[in-house]
Symmetry: C2
């Protein structure tokens, strides 16, 4: 069994130990890359399924665009190429020949998608296009942190085309809302939402909206972004449509994405020193039933009872019976705790005789016997309770993790003492933002819609200013 470093000793090592120990992922032999192992991937599959259902319910369709993008496409949008070109992996040979034009592996797909939209959009009747794709992207990274920062990662990217600016902006905001609902209701992870500052926005966007979550160590994590792109890509790729008045107009756009990074966020939102804690709605296995087998004894009655319980739980509960006989019950307890399964049911000969089973909660560690007849009713209710409990603990952590400061000195003290989000007045200027970043490693995480007006920036002392959350971030 893998040993897990304590969070209080080394948070970063603790994270690494859980991801490796729970067999969620591993380092690949290619620098910057990871392998997502079945336990981690099955969490990602559940994330995908839930989000995909939400995308379809809001009118989106999936499509697939090419992995390889001509380098010249990237160069058509000035900010975009500046932001992404330095991070690109470049294919220069194919089929044993040098290519005439190098191809980049998509770091994001706006350019190839808008090159296609030019073929498909002529009239207002062709709009909106509400497309999404699930795929891999590559951004050249040298420092790997499994799930959080890898050269290749999996994500979804929505790319929509609209006849008006209002509609495109509403779309970007709607999808931010979808992400927020997903984060809260599925990941049990509360988030702050708002706009990014100019320095932090997506290369090529007019506005970037962001979701920011708070990890247990007081660092922020950007969990997803949604961009209003205005007409920038339509202009770069000359995508115009005939509007209802018969005039030609450039198309308006949004794009939005979340990635396998969410799996890392999930780990750092709920887990403890014994391992992963998974919210039931995303747990690949919600209940593990462990028959207590004795070497040399006749274990058939116990095995049969375990199988019967599993069946009795019905299709609504994801259950696994762990009846391996080459590891001890204690070893199994530890393993499933490390893997974060929300509920464990222990079933030994004495339990069987007493008509009961022992139920153990992964989140609280609470252990109680329960009459066997009640399991099928109690377990679904308990899973809901655990989901709600994780969310309310996380909300409480976010609430207490949001602090306020007015002066720069006080700001720095709070940041160093407690971490978390520190709300402080900022004039909106790049210089002040950069200075805070250099001196404290904290960045403006977002600008809330309802940011409090303040008389003076904590850095330059000039006004008007707004109170915005700063944090050190992953």
């Amino acid at each position: 069994m893998a040993k897990i470093t304590k969070r209080s000793d080394d948070y970063s090592q603790w994270y690494h130990d859980i991801v490796i120990g729970a067999e969620m992922a591993d380092y690949a032999p290619v620098r910057g890359c990871m392998v997502i192992r079945p336990w981690g991937y099955s969490i990602w599959e559940r994330i995908q399924r839930a989000l995909d259902d939400m995308f379809k319910a809001t009118g989106h369709e999936n499509a697939y665009f090419p992995l390889l993008i001509p380098k010249s496409f990237l160069e058509k949008e000035a900010e975009h190429v500046e932001g992404f070109a330095p991070e690109c992996a470049v294919v220069t040979r194919g089929g044993d020949k040098d290519l005439e034009e190098p191809l980049v592996i998509r770091p994001t797909s706006e350019t190839i998608i808008w090159a296609m939209y030019k073929k498909w959009i002529q009239s207002w009747r062709d709009l909106p296009l509400l497309y999404n794709q699930w795929c891999n992207v590559v951004r050249w990274e040298m420092r790997t942190r499994l799930f959080l920062r890898t050269a290749e990662f999996l994500w979804q990217e929505g790319h929509t085309a609209h006849a008006t600016a209002d509609e495109a902006r509403e779309e970007a905001e709607r999808m931010l809302g979808v992400y927020r609902t997903f984060a809260e209701e599925w990941m049990a992870m509360p988030v702050l939402v708002g706009r990014k500052s100019d320095s932090q926005k997506f290369a090529g966007a007019e506005t970037t909206y962001t979701l920011e979550a708070l990890m247990q160590d007081g660092r922020a994590l950007q969990a997803g972004t949604s961009h209003y792109l205005g007409q920038n890509f339509a202009k770069a790729f000359d995508v115009r449509f005939q509007n209802k008045d018969g005039a030609l107009e450039y198309v308006y756009a949004s794009s939005w994405g979340v990635s396998t990074r969410l799996v890392g966020a999930l780990v750092m939102s709920h887990s403890d020193d014994r391992g992963l804690i998974l919210p039931p709605r995303l747990a690949p296995v919600q209940v593990v039933i462990i028959p207590i087998l004795k070497a040399g004894a006749d274990n058939e009655a116990i095995r049969a009872a375990a199988a019967r319980f599993a069946e009795g739980l019905g299709e609504g509960v994801r259950v696994r019976v762990d009846d391996r006989d080459n590891v001890s019950p204690g070893w199994k307890f530890n393993e499933w705790e490390l893997k974060g399964v929300p509920l464990r049911v222990e079933l030994g000969p004495k339990d069987l005789a007493a008509g009961q089973a022992v139920l153990v909660r992964r989140d609280t560690g609470e252990k109680k016997p329960l009459p066997q007849g009640e399991l099928a009713v109690s377990i679904p209710a308990l899973l809901d309770e655990i989901q709600a409990g994780l969310f309310s603990s996380a909300k409480e952590r976010l609430r207490t993790g949001c602090r306020s400061a007015d002066e720069y000195a006080g700001f720095r003290r709070v940041l160093d003492e407690t971490g978390g989000f520190v709300y402080a007045p900022w004039c909106g200027g790049r210089e002040c933002e950069d200075r805070v970043g250099e001196e404290t490693k904290a960045t403006v995480r977002l600008i809330p819609d309802d940011a409090e007006a303040c008389p003076a920036c904590m850095v330059c002392g000039k006004g008007p200013a707004k109170r915005v959350p700063f944090a050190r971030a992953y």
Copy 2:
């Protein structure tokens, strides 16, 4: 509305017209690459879902391995590198620097996966590993045929590791069976199964099993393959395990895959000169309800009735109401026929008054009025009937498409006159196989398990020989 070339005029153009006209896919601005549009992608999503459920039901788990593979990995298995190196796209630059070692974009993932299996497999207790991944791969192709042959394509690749040769071979055969069941029960596409000849097997395999389908124009299409890899990759990556006797042994392997090519096979299995015909189980929309709206009239009652029917069909049926008012009913009929939706329900004011609707089958064109109250019962039954009907037509086509010849001259005549599979005696030698290929463009599609023994090869006249199906293929 796109115009569809007749099959009898130009089969290849007919295929192209359907794929483009039904908005299944489009050519990408990158040579050899395609864009999968929502209609095509939603068919692929249904293929994925059905196969993925079957993989999981047979004990497999999904994982994800890196896109980029060090070139040296490919070179560790001699046949493998010979087969794949000439088709590779190669990344030579990353993050604005030349790479020390070039990385190839995976053409298939045996090498990177077995490099990881070396980390994960120590003992017989770690076996079997039954992993699958859904991903994109790149094999440098210059001639694009949408879905059938593209430089980048989507697929799944299963990679399993076993303690014994028998178990690995059984796995390869089991997955061939899964593919066959899928082809028959979901795609309504009958297949021949068997082993590939040595010249056609996967680079690095001991045995390649294949599924071969027959397209309407008499050409064969390889629909999927499953490989018994023996210990080839275990030896190349030094993956050994301690067996139950405590001795070290190389691990045995299988791999198996199907790709977006299946979408092309689907088109060429069932469609007609009016467009795509989709088997109901894979149709993104199974029933389209078209209210007959009149310009200037009050269409609310019709719209409401259409919505009511759609709801009445319940969750088991994928239904769409097409109540757009900027195109005519006739235009809609053509569009949904082109897109292959199995059933159309027309609902006009007179139908509404008469308490009926008009039901039109895409496969037979049959049109009949039906009392509205019977729709919810009739439609699911009719969808099953259509699925079964497509399969039995396709089986009949395969049956009549299999012919026999004993002499080479007769073989060539049958091949030219009728196409299809021509079963003829072959000695198993590479020279005879190559000569047939050069002279007729037909290849040995597979070697059936129960191939009939024949006294003499039709090419060299030597024996013993086996009767195997030759065909021209996609």
